[in-house]
Symmetry: C2
Subunit: 553 residues, 2 copies
C-alpha cells in the first residue's frame, strides 16, 4: 500500500508516556466513590461495580507482582463515530499487554460492538499494530453503532470471549458506549463470567468529561483541523474583503468544538447553543445579533466576517424545539395525508395545521429549511437535526433582515455569503502529538487496569496540561459519573453529558472578548497541525483544557 | 495582534534562495523569443516588448555594475484571487530592492489594480514586511479584480508612479493580469514613461504554466491543503464504511487541482474535465461511470468511496454547454416573461421552450440544479457556473441511476452520500516550504529584472524539482507566451491558458492507475503541510510537477 512521506515519517513517532507508567508500576487505591447523582438508584443497578475506589498508578521502588504476570488475552472494540487517536489507544493497549507478558494476545472485534455479538474478529499482531501507530481513523478494525444493551448480546459475546480465552474487553467509545460498557461489566461480574470490562473516553465532541476525565480523545485534533481551516478562511476573508463566511461545526448537542475553535481563531461571531438556551433566545434574536455585527462592520467598510455555528444549535433555540416537537407529533399521525399533498402546497398546509405561535415561526423560515423540517425523519419519527443546514438558514435570514434594514435606512453595506460545514474533515485526521500521547497512555493504562483485575473502570489520564512526564494515570469507576436520565420514555443510568458551562473559564474568556472580535478584525491563524517543530507549536493542549485548568492562553 | 504559536515560529523561516541569486549576480541574455502563435499579430501589438531574449541570472565572479546601483523605488500590486505565497513574493522583492540599495523603497497599491488607478497605496516598510513573511493571504495590501485595460487607467496610474518616483511596477497575478501587465509595459515604453512592468505567475488553479513557467505559485500549497482534507475524509470513509463522498475542488476551468489531489490521495474516482470534453462524454455517461464503480464496490461489500470533481466540469460536458448556451440566449430575451411565471411552473415552462435535445437534458436534471441554471446570472447574462453544485448534481443522479439498477436487479448495496466543496479553505493557507521558497525567489528575481532595466518580462524560476540551491532564476518575455484569442467578441492577445494535457505524464500516470483505485481501496493520506520535519516531508514539489519533469512519484 502506497504511503505519503508524512505517513512514513510519523509511523516512527514514539508517544510520550507518563513517568509513572515506565518501568515498575504499582497501583494505589484512593477514596471510595459515589455517583454524581441518584446514588441509591445507581447503586441498586450496579451492586458489584458501584462505589469502587479511584485508582492511580505510581512508580514502584521494587518489583511488584504485576511484573511477573502470566500472559493476558484481551479484546478491543471501537464504538461509534471516529475520533483521532483510536489507533494509539489500541497500540498503547497492545504494548502494555506485551510488556506484561510477551505471549499476551490482543483481539480486535470488527466494525464495532456488533463484531463481539457476531463473532467477527482478528488477532492484532505486531505487524498490524505497527501499520497503524499514530494514524487517524478507526480502520484498523472498523467501528459501528450497534448498542450493547441486551443480555442476549452479552451472552453471545461471552461465548467468543471464552473461546479466545479473553480475560478483559476494552471498549473505546463515547458516553453511551461507556455507560453500556459498565452495564456489561456489571453483568459479567454478576454472572461470575471472569471477564473484565474497561472503557476509554472517546469523542471529538468533547462532551464526555468531568472531574476525573479531563477530556475525551480526538477533541484536540479535530478542533485543530477545523481551526486550521477557519484560520485559512479568515485570511481569505480579510484579503478579499467581500464575503461573510457562515461555518457550521460538528459536535452534536454540545458547543465545545465551536467554542474551542473560537478561542483558537477569534472569529467575528460564534454562537454557543448552551447560552442560547439559557437566555431563551429566539431565532430572530440570533439573526438580529449577527445582522447587527454585519451592519456595524459594513458601516466601517468591512463587508466581511466569519460566523461559527455549532451543529446542534437548532435544538437549543426554545421556539424551534417547540416547533419541531409539534411537527414530529403531527407528522407521526398524518404522515400519509401529508405525503399525498402536492410538494408545492406542503408549506401552506403545515402552516394551516400548526398552532398559531408555531405556525408563525414556521412561516418565517426559508423555504429549504422549512421543507427539511417536514422530510428526513429518523426511525423514531424525529427530525434529523444534523441534516438541517443551519449555516444556510442563518445566512439567508441575516440577509433578509439586512435587506429590510436597508429599506429602513438602517444599514449600508454589501452582504454576500459563503457557507461551510466541517465535520468529516477532522474526525479521522492523524492525531496531534497531544492526542497521540494521550491515547497511547489511555491504552497503556487500560492494560494495567486489566492486569490488576479491575472492571467497570474508565482509563483515566490527568494533569495533561503539564508535560507528559508528569501526567497522572489511573482508573475511575464508571458508576461515579452516572446519574439517572429519561431516555426513550424510561429512566436509565447514564454518564452525564458535559455541555458548555456558562460559568466555566473557556466560555467566560470567550464572552469577555467577543464584542471586540465582532467589531475589530482580530483573526488568529493557527495553521496546520505540526508534528516535528518546536514544542510550543507541536505539543499544546486545547485552549479549553488550558483555561479549565486555570492556565492563561 | 494575537498570533498563534505557528505564526510566530514560522515568521522566522528564511526562504531558500537559488545559489545564483546570492552574492554578486550577473545577467545572461539568451535567445530572442517568438510568441507561441500568431507571431505577426502579437508583434504588431507589442512593437517594443516583442521578441526580447530570455534572461538568466548567474553568479558573477566579480562585482558588477548592479552592485553599486542607486536606490530604486518600486510598486507592487496583487491582482485577482488569493494564492498562498503572495506575501513572500513581496518580501523577496523588498529584500532584493534593499540589497540593491538600502534606501530603495517599495510601495504597495491597495486592493488590487484599482489602487494604482485611484492612488491608494502605502509604503511597505521593513516593519510591515516582517509581519507578513511566510504567511498566507493577500491581506498585506489586499487584492482586487479591476482590470487594467484602458489607457485612461494607465495615465492615471502614471501620475502617482511619477509622484512617488517609482521606476518599476510588479504585478502579481494570473494569466489575464499578466497579459494586462504586458500591455501596460508596452504602453509605458511607447510613451517613454520610464516605468518598467514585471509580472509574477500566480494562481492556485495551476493553469498559468508553459515551457518557461514551471508552475504558478499557490498551486502547491492549495493542493496540499485539499489533499490533507481528502485524505482525512478517506480515512473516515474507510473506517465508517457507509458513505460515498462527492468532493468538488476549486480550479476554474482547468482540472489541474483535481488531478494533483488525485495523484496525492488515490481516490476511487476523479473526473477530469479535459478528458470529458475530448471524449465528448454526456452527463449520463459520467453518471454511469461513477455508478458502475459504486455498484462494483457494493457487490464486494464496500458501500463507500470518494469522487473528486473539478469545479469547471459542467462547462466541459458538451451537451451541458449547448444547453446553457440556449438557456442564456433564451433568458436574455425573455427575462421578464420568465420571472413572471410561478416558481413551481418554471421548470415545465423551460422544457416547453427549449429545443427537443436540450429539453431532454434539462428534464433529466435534479430540480435544484435545473433551477440554478435559470437563476443566478452574471452581469453578462451567463449562468454562474461556479455556483452550480456539481457535487450534489452528480451525487443525486448517481443515486437515481443506482435506484433504477436496483429495480432491474443489476445493483445490490447501499448508497448514501456526503458532499463537500473545497476552495476557500486553501487559497490563503500559509505557503508550503515549496511555495514560500518559490515565491521569495520570484520576488527577488523581479527586483533584479528591475535593476537591469527590463520591462515586459515575467519573473521565472525553473528547475524547482531540484534542491533550491540549483533553481534557475531569470525572466521570460511575456509576449513569448501569447497568442490571439476571441474574448467578448473581439480578438485579443492573451497568454495561453494551460489546461490538463491528456498526453502529459500527470494525466497518463493517473489514467494508468485509476481502474485499480476504483475497485480496490488504495487511499493515501498526505496529512497536513509540515514546516519543520524531514525534507522528504516538508520540501516536496507537487506530484504534477515531478511527473512533468520526468521524475517518478
Amino acid at each position: 500500500m502506497k504511503k505519503s512521506p508524512l505517513q512514513i515519517a510519523r509511523a516512527a513517532y514514539q508517544p510520550k508516556l507518563p513517568k509513572a507508567l515506565k518501568g515498575q508500576v504499582k497501583l494505589v487505591e484512593g477514596e471510595k466513590t459515589q455517583s454524581v447523582a441518584d446514588q441509591n438508584e445507581i447503586q441498586k443497578l450496579f451492586p458489584n461495580t458501584y462505589g469502587m475506589p479511584l485508582l492511580k498508578f505510581e512508580t514502584a521502588g521494587v518489583s511488584t507482582s504485576l511484573n511477573d504476570h502470566r500472559p493476558i488475552n484481551a479484546g478491543v472494540i471501537l464504538s461509534g463515530g471516529q475520533a483521532p487517536g483510536g489507533h494509539n489507544v489500541i497500540s498503547g493497549l497492545f504494548d502494555g499487554l506485551k510488556a506484561i507478558h510477551k505471549d499476551s494476545k490482543l483481539y480486535g472485534f470488527l466494525m464495532g460492538p456488533g463484531g463481539l455479538v457476531d463473532h467477527n474478529y482478528i488477532e492484532l499482531t505486531a505487524e498490524i499494530i505497527d501499520e497503524y501507530r499514530n494514524t487517524g481513523g478507526f480502520d484498523i478494525i472498523g467501528s459501528g453503532r450497534t448498542k450493547l444493551e441486551d443480555p442476549e448480546q452479552y451472552d453471545k459475546g461471552l461465548k467468543i470471549l471464552k473461546k479466545l480465552d479473553i480475560k478483559a474487553l476494552v471498549i473505546i467509545g463515547g458516553d453511551d458506549s461507556n455507560t453500556n460498557a459498565c452495564v456489561l461489566a456489571e453483568y459479567y461480574v454478576a454472572k461470575n463470567a471472569g471477564i473484565q470490562v474497561i472503557g476509554c473516553p472517546k469523542t471529538i465532541d468533547g462532551d464526555l468529561k468531568n472531574e476525573m476525565i479531563e477530556t475525551s480523545f480526538g477533541f484536540d485534533t479535530a478542533c485543530k483541523v477545523y481551526s486550521e481551516l477557519i484560520g485559512n478562511i479568515q485570511r481569505d476573508c480579510n484579503s478579499a474583503r467581500k464575503y461573510w463566511h457562515f461555518i457550521k461545526l460538528m459536535g452534536r448537542s454540545a458547543s465545545h468544538i465551536a467554542l474551542e475553535c473560537a478561542l483558537q481563531t477569534q472569529p467575528n461571531i460564534c454562537i454557543i447553543s448552551e447560552e442560547v438556551e439559557a437566555k431563551q433566545q429566539s431565532l430572530d434574536e440570533i439573526v438580529a445579533y449577527i445582522a447587527e455585527a454585519v451592519a456595524y462592520r459594513g458601516k466601517n467598510g468591512k463587508n466581511f466576517g466569519t460566523v461559527l455555528i455549532p451543529e446542534g444549535l437548532i435544538e437549543f433555540i426554545p421556539e424551534m424545539r417547540v416547533l419541531m416537537d409539534e411537527l414530529n407529533d403531527y407528522l407521526a399521525h398524518h404522515a400519509e395525508e401529508f405525503a399525498a399533498i402536492d410538494k408545492n402546497e406542503q408549506r401552506a398546509y403545515m402552516i394551516s395545521k400548526l398552532s398559531p405561535k408555531n405556525a408563525e415561526v414556521y412561516a418565517s423560515l426559508p423555504e429549504g429549511v422549512a421543507r427539511q423540517l417536514t422530510l428526513d425523519r429518523d426511525p423514531h419519527g424525529n427530525v434529523q437535526v444534523s441534516l438541517i443546514e443551519t449555516e444556510k438558514l442563518l445566512a439567508e435570514m441575516v440577509g433578509a433582515k439586512l435587506a429590510q434594514w436597508k429599506k429602513e435606512g438602517k444599514y449600508i453595506g454589501k452582504f454576500a455569503t459563503q457557507v461551510h460545514f466541517f465535520g468529516y474533515e477532522g474526525r479521522c485526521a492523524a492525531p496531534s502529538n497531544y492526542d497521540a500521547d494521550y491515547c497511547y497512555a489511555l491504552g497503556y493504562t487500560a492494560s494495567l487496569l486489566i492486569a490488576n483485575g479491575k472492571t467497570g473502570y474508565i482509563s483515566s489520564i490527568r494533569n495533561t496540561t503539564e508535560s507528559a512526564e508528569n501526567w497522572i494515570a489511573g482508573g475511575v469507576p464508571t458508576t461515579m459519573m452516572m446519574n439517572m436520565e429519561r431516555r426513550h420514555g424510561a429512566m436509565k443510568p447514564v454518564i452525564q453529558k458535559a455541555l458548555v458551562r456558562l460559568d466555566g473559564a473557556p466560555f467566560k474568556t470567550f464572552a469577555s472578548q467577543r464584542d471586540v472580535w465582532a467589531k475589530e478584525t482580530c483573526y488568529v491563524y493557527p495553521g496546520p497541525i505540526q508534528y516535528f517543530g518546536p514544542t510550543e507549536v507541536c505539543d499544546q493542549p486545547s485552549q479549553t483544557l488550558l483555561l479549565e485548568q486555570g492556565k492563561t492562553i
